[in-house]
């Protein structure tokens, strides 16, 4: 086995002697003997590095990863986008990877400035004034948005569109067991949210485009929110944002989202990145870390985590959130990828996804028996209802070499359906082959 402990036996003996001890066992004198584990851990002895790598290679081979042999048309919040060589290499720089939270800004300007740039990019993407330095994922960003809204409004009911990603809604519900917030599901009608008339919500949460891929009418949502004096919380798809008017533009108070599409592989679902932006007036309720610009003793520009009094290590039980370790490295990756895309590239990315999705959708809907789940306009993801149930379609499509999509969750309330995402990586040939394969498997 490899040893990551540098100490030789001689080192250990010398250090023990310095401490006045004669054996390692004496280090444990404050541990009641009843608690001393006899015989060590019930875990196999260590493996050499090559043996360890071989074992995980074997585990990897026991998966069917997306790639030429399993072409990915699945999305639902986890997308198969291109990751350029430059981004991977920069984001893997060991100074970023093995740094800690920037508690000492004088030696952490690298991470701090990257986060400052990340915050700026997310703010621009969402059309809002301030963004935090990351949350765990899309789900946690929704949870925190609701917490912020409830705290700001002093009311605890939040209307949540069924068009919000099902696992995000489930996660919100899990955490609502602690906060006691009252989350009210709001149904979709033909693909977009049909807000109720009465009630006193603190906020409305809507996804844009929503889980069915449909573009929600944010102007209408804002109007409903205004009618109730409620806040508008929008979960945005940051890729579609390249062509859509921003959440901020429609008057959203908070925008959240999943940042995985920018530089992070599918990763079996994590680590991903919770995007969180809001209007400046809410900054003192912002969850998580915030980086601000300042100066050093000589007046040079410098960055530091700021408004720390919101945070748990200072505010403790009164903190705006309990988040401590967040997803910094994924945020840095996102910043690098967004800078790589730049103004023109993001738009081009969105267009390419949208064109691919349109082409695939037209192809699928031309098949006998395939119906749209909703007729509202979609951008880069869409749901169709095949004549056989969609889980079966997905299973059969595996043999055809495709990850065909994600079957719709019941909780969306749209019936059975297959959610299909098309990214800029999908070629016309792949889409044609995909449609042809779907035709075969639904026969």
């Amino acid at each position: 086995m490899p040893s990551y402990v540098p100490h030789t036996d001689a080192d250990i003996a010398a250090m023990l002697a310095f401490c006045g001890l004669s054996s390692i066992d004496e280090l444990w004198e404050t541990i009641p003997s009843a608690l001393r584990l006899a015989g060590g851990l019930d875990i196999a002895p260590g493996l050499s590095e090559p043996d360890t790598l071989a074992r995980f290679e074997r585990l990897g081979a026991a998966n069917r990863a997306c790639g030429p042999d399993l072409v990915c048309f699945a999305g639902a919040g986890a997308y198969d986008h291109e990751i350029p060589s430059a981004i991977r290499r920069l984001a893997n720089r060991t100074e970023f990877v093995t740094a800690y939270t920037p508690y000492q800004p004088e030696v952490a300007q690298g991470v701090l400035q990257a986060l400052f740039e990340y915050q700026t990019l997310v703010a621009r993407l969402t059309g809002l004034e301030v963004a935090n330095a990351s949350l765990y994922d899309g789900a946690s960003a929704c949870v925190e948005a609701v917490n912020l809204a409830v705290a700001a409004a002093g009311r605890s009911t939040v209307w949540v569109s069924r068009g919000v990603h099902p696992t995000w809604r489930e996660t919100m519900r899990t955490f609502a067991a602690g906060t006691g917030h009252d989350l009210v599901d709001v149904d979709l009608v033909d693909g977009t949210t049909a807000w109720p008339a009465g009630g006193e919500p603190a906020a409305l949460l809507v996804q844009y485009p929503n889980h069915l891929g449909c573009v929600e009418d944010l102007a209408a949502a804002r109007a409903v929110a205004d009618a109730h004096g409620a806040m508008l919380l929008v979960a945005v798809d940051p890729v579609a944002a390249g062509m859509l008017r921003s959440a901020g533009d429609f008057g959203a108070d908070v925008a959240v989202g999943e940042g995985q599409p920018f530089g992070t592989p599918l990763s079996f679902g994590g680590p991903y990145l919770g995007l969180f932006a809001c209007r400046l007036e809410h900054v003192r309720r912002l969850p998580g870390r915030l980086v601000g610009e300042t100066v050093d003793a000589d007046g040079r520009r410098a960055y530091v985590t700021t408004l720390r009094t919101r945070e748990q290590d200072i505010r403790r039980e009164k903190a705006s959130s309990n988040v401590c370790t967040n997803q910094t490295l994924i945020a840095v990756t996102c910043a690098i990828q967004l800078a790589w895309l730049g103004t023109g590239g993001l738009r081009e990315l969105a267009r390419r996804c949208a064109r691919g999705a349109r082409y695939a959708r037209d192809g699928l809907l031309a098949l006998d028996g395939v119906e749209p789940v909703a007729t509202a306009p979609t951008i880069r993801e869409f749901a169709v209802r095949p004549p056989v149930d969609s889980a079966t379609v997905v299973d059969r499509m595996l043999e055809e070499g495709f990850l065909a999509g994600v079957p719709l969750d019941e909780s969306v309330g749209a019936g059975d359906g297959l959610l299909v995402a098309v990214t800029e990586r999908r070629t016309r040939d792949e889409i044609d082959a995909y449609v042809a394969a779907v035709e075969r498997v639904i026969k």
Partner: protein
Amino acid sequence: MSGPAGGRATSIPLMGRDEEPTVFELSSTGRRAWSFRTTGVPEWPEDELVPAGHRRDEPVPLAEVSERDLVAHFTRLSHRQYSVDLGAYPLGSCTMKYNPKLCDDVAAMAGLANVHPAAPVATIQGWLELLVELGESLCAITGMHSATLQPPAGAAGELTGLLLMRAWHRDHGEDATRRRVIIPDSAHGTNPASVTLGGYEVTTVPSDDRGCVDVAALRERLDTDVAGIMLTNPNTLGLFEEDILEIARSVHEVGGLLYYDGANLNAILGVTRPGDMGFDIVHMNLHKTFAVPHGGGGPGAGPVAVSERLARYLPGPCPVRLADGTFGWHAPDRSIGRVHSWHGNALALARAASYIVANGGDGLQQVSEVAVLNANWLRHRLRGVYDVPFDRPNMHEVVFSATNLKKARGLRAVDVAKRLLEEGFHAPTVYFPLIVDEALMVEPTETESPETVAALADAMERIAQDSADAAHDAPRTTPVGRVDEARAARQLIPTFDARRSGGAD
């Protein structure tokens, strides 16, 4: 034993002490780095792709840079950043150990990285096996029954644990009556914050003069309205709670549950187990003990392991080993529900799994032995130089105090920290735990050689003899000098755009 500059980051200014412009300042209209594959997908006019009222007029203004400038910018930023790979990082409570490079290779394996989280079970057998085995190893290490790997960080694990507590009490008809959770005054800030989010009230229990939970004071606070207690053991002073069995008994007696904050697990691998101490719920920070790199503040992973009676409440779906030898998902019957969009920080979990496999049971035990030895050596070495508020056998970290220096010469913990930066070391954790004045919480970890630990001690000794004036100007050799934190909060500039508009607030 003191070798030459062991573990110190001796890296130096390549260039003048200049500012690095933001990517926005490097931007120039029309430049680009992006390129996309040729797909042959037909064109569509944009107005057929986006409904009219929702189409943006202008593209999102991001930045426009060449690949060359992008690479140079972020490479230069990386040179303004301290990291474990540059030198020692003795941040107490954080366990900034060396992360074996082998784990990077595991996280980069295509067979793991390119798997969609919603893919059918038949296509993810490798992942499920990996997760099941990791869960089993974590249970073996903590002495618990089963685990969820979903929580993406320690704090998320805490909140998950508190919701498990809640679910338990609810099923026992006590949801309304059990309102309080007890935490020691030395606890990490996430503990009280999580308690609040779990819907509970915080009751603080003081530490006694040994630095441990004051058991008498605890008993006073225990009643049937107590949902549970959250403890770290060793605690944030680096001391083992010697009365832990007594504490467990008392809490259980009133029907409360015991929560173990596993941030300090690096001290006890193979030595003792929270499960044996009587804990019901345990979270682990895989980014501390199990070598998931910190990434500048994340991502981490905060799995939660529980005793058998709590297993049915775990978040679902759980990866499980099926009777036929394959793997699948299982939703516990009384599950509190998901706590993550998918299955947790999977690639971070894979890193930890490979770290455990490579070290093995024997290697992990050695980890704790040497982590504790390094920290005790340091206490012996620096007692007399710094105050040691609790000068007794410590575990993997040791809390010093600069009160003696402050009294003598006005040298505060923060000054020591900033001077250490100059000396080529990251600073220890300062002003935490809150119950120690001018606290300097040092955790060398097992991956630092005796020479490095000695060099750190030498530097701390030199600094203790410094003039307060010299320290006030520190650090002078870092990419920027002492940073004005107050101004950042006073005149908030959270984005480059706010900067241009002269700062908000």
